[in-house]
Symmetry: C2
Subunit: 482 residues, 2 copies
């Protein structure tokens, strides 16, 4: 309830009767929007008490207001501001005057990077949603996670523990994760080499802020993961885009660049590149590592979907090879469990992690200690591994079903290379069909569309057979309608 004694000003010296002063104050509050249409007002007894006036005075004020239709009085129920009063457009807020001290300072534009189009802010309710490669939360052990979470909030000691030193991530989670990463990726690390981030993006942002600045050069793929490019640009660094082919990023081009100018960092998504889903070949991996030592640049390895590789077993990360500490390895649980969980991690030399922790603390203090410890328990119990194994099998089937569907139904409209892993297929449209047509359809929502390459990402992991069929059928309708 609002502190009405601060809203209602009464001046006993004033000749205007007190009840009129009260009524006037309330009218003013309604007019300037402090009191909104339908908002409840305190009972006359309550208000009289807080204003230090007689109850009859307040009743008189309320009567006057209701007579003027400012308020509605339902006896013995409630008193509220009338509904018919238009909710005034916020004055001081939306329509901020250009005198606003920070008005001019529009540092960051909304990007539609490398001609990609994002429709995330659409308001229409689309019938078909094609994401860019999200897991199926319906398969995830969220129950187990939340049960554990709940149990911690009722433990006396967990209460205090969970809220401290989460800027690096809880010790429990970092220890479990160090073990998990060594078993699954051969990363020979300790908990001190880990920073738990708020999603993989924060790992990229933090690394960028610490490594890059105006004048420094960072190499990225073309096309590249837009949010990573944004993070690099935000530091004022120069982005140098090198081509991506079927074997991943072109390391010879990188070498050529390094010979021309000082490169501070190279950003790679070894498997599977975003958006094109290609896997970086073994030869290029070896050469890239050699270059990083020769030219002393940091490799930011974004390995967001290592766990989902189908045809062969995955390549070990660059981070688990000889790299003289040049590799910053970034991963996430968003792809393993569910995107909105927002728990990611960074692996790096201890001295770099220390800097990251200091910066991370400034950004958002830390993560959710309870959730992190619940996740640690999920890993320790082996539940995470079981889930990933199960999900991998399922996503592989979905990839193959989508492959079959695309060949049968859309074969003559599109082309694509079946990815060896991941959660999405990079679908290229034949020249006669424009991807912009797909974007413009109100009933269809596609997360990642690339106009320059006339292509889009078809995320299959989050859709079951039936949903895949519906989506492809919908696309077929559109293409045959072109």
């Amino acid at each position: 309830m609002l502190p009405f004694e601060h809203i209602i000003i009464i001046d006993k010296e004033n000749k205007v009767p007190v009840y009129k002063q009260i009524a006037f104050s309330i009218t003013k509050a309604i007019q300037n929007g402090t009191l909104k249409a339908g908002a409840h007002l305190p009972g006359s007894r309550e208000l009289a008490k807080s204003l230090g006036v007689h109850r009859k005075t307040v009743m008189a004020a309320y009567d006057e207001l209701s007579a003027q239709d400012w308020i509605v009085i339902i006896p013995r129920k409630y008193i509220s501001v009338a509904e018919r009063i238009p909710v005034l457009k916020p004055q001081k807020w939306s329509a901020a005057p250009s005198a606003l001290p920070y008005q001019h300072d529009f540092r960051i534009g909304f990007r539609t990077v490398d001609n990609g189009v994002e429709k995330t802010n659409t308001t229409s309710k689309p019938e078909i949603i094609i994401d860019d490669g999200c897991p199926d939360v319906r398969l995830s052990p969220i129950d187990a996670l939340l049960r554990t979470y709940r149990s911690y909030t009722s433990f006396k000691y967990a209460i205090k523990d969970a809220n401290t030193s989460t800027e690096q991530g809880t010790v429990k989670l970092r220890e479990e994760l160090a073990h998990y990463l060594s078993e699954t990726r051969g990363l020979n690390i300790a908990a001190s080499n880990l920073l738990i981030t708020h999603g993989a993006q924060m790992g990229i942002f933090v690394a960028a802020r610490l490594l890059l600045g105006p004048g420094s050069n960072v190499v990225v793929g073309k096309p590249n993961y837009p949010s990573a490019s944004s993070a690099f640009e935000e530091t004022g660094a120069q982005l140098i885009a090198v081509s991506i082919d079927e074997h991943g990023i072109d390391v010879d081009e990188i070498e050529a660049v390094c010979k021309k100018k000082k490169v501070t960092a190279v950003y790679v998504i070894p498997h599977h590149h975003y958006p094109t889903t290609v896997t970086l070949s073994a030869e290029r991996r070896v050469k890239l590592l050699k270059l990083s030592i020769q030219f002393s640049f940091a490799i930011i390895e974004d390995d967001y979907d290592y766990d989902y590789h189908y045809t062969a077993s995955p390549y070990l990360p660059l981070a688990s090879c000889e790299h003289d500490g040049n590799v910053i390895y970034i991963g996430s649980f968003s792809k393993m469990l569910e995107p909105s969980l927002r728990i990611g991690f960074m692996v790096a030399p201890e001295n770099f992690i220390m800097q990251c922790v200091a910066l991370r603390k400034i950004i958002d203090v830390g993560g959710d200690g309870y959730m992190q410890n619940a996740l640690a328990a999920l890993i320790k119990s082996g539940e995470l591994k079981r889930h990933v194994k199960k999900a991998k099998k399922c996503y592989r089937q979905r990839r193959d079903s989508l492959d079959a569907l695309l060949r049968d139904k859309l074969g003559k409209y599109i082309s694509y290379t079946l990815p060896s892993g991941g959660m999405a297929i990079w679908v290229k449209l034949n020249p006669e069909f424009s991807v912009t047509r797909l974007v413009s359809h109100p009933k269809l929502k596609i997360y990642r569309v690339d106009i320059e390459h006339n292509a889009f990402r078809f995320g299959f992991a989050s859709m079951n057979e039936k949903e895949l069929e519906q989506a492809v059928a919908f696309l077929y309708e559109m293409f045959s309608g072109f």
Copy 2:
């Protein structure tokens, strides 16, 4: 399981028998830490299959390894790397060579701001933990929150919804919050004036990044909330500290500063200032707003515990008065529900919010859509209001109990002013007792200690009567022992 075919290199041309090559590869992997002590190895059948060799060959390799004590074979159970092998210190990670490209680049130091000391990284298990003002999670409706959360993850459509456009916060939460803030704080805003952040700190960080930069000036209180100072310094801005007295920040000093140099922003914590817990007086609020218009600076209003004001009803935020859009209002649910929830919010003019959203997306993409919608439901149902009302009553009692305990037991060692609200008391030690002595005690952990003022924050909200008594008794022991 590790992809062993990438770890084990077999050269059929090589004169060394294949089983020896396998054994050698595994020994190497153990030595360089890729395989850790106790790590399980695949069964001979499995490994033979993935290496494309005869099973007998693998068995020969395993026999050799176990003969050399590298591995342990428990027939029909498992094969694992021997436990007695020392877990090698991560070579490439902890001990990163100084040639590390980013080694030199230690931009951010660990702060102990204004001589404050943080012991968050202590490893000892303290018996008594005195936080700096955290809510009691045991009172919070976490159950309801998590139940709702769970229900969303099983809804087909919530799945897709929750993961999109959370960079500003879900529409559900922003709409509920706009209503809640208008009812409780008289903030006349729309959902478009809101950014949902990952805790209040992210609001401060984002505002700082957009408003400040090298050469710009920002006014803060002395002493100030350390994490806010860090966020401002990180932008390269100049911090100008003005004094805080019993009426809050000294606005005349601010005016004097504005006359000397261009001030871009003023950071205030109107009630209750951190760490000293004082409330900004009405007169100063009015004058500060006038100054912000006169000198055109932004006011960053950190109102983290508005909801907990005991003696009178709270002052309305600066943000709900006339301010020509100069006020950026920052709040958090961490204090209302639980600290690790990490959901905060920023209220600002729409055009500024748009910039914040663009930046926030780069930092960490967005928040947890499920949790945000669950919180929205909690607000809509009125549960949050009921909780805050209940908690307020409880915290007020705890403040009064602590007041009584401090007077009775520690009266002759300390001094303090009872705060009119909030979750902590700012306790000053008499000169003859040094606060550093408290910090050094292994069984005691205090979140916020200020050596310059020989004082610390005694958070009372998270402790019940019994816990308060224990804490004060413990302090009594120490003081009388001095």
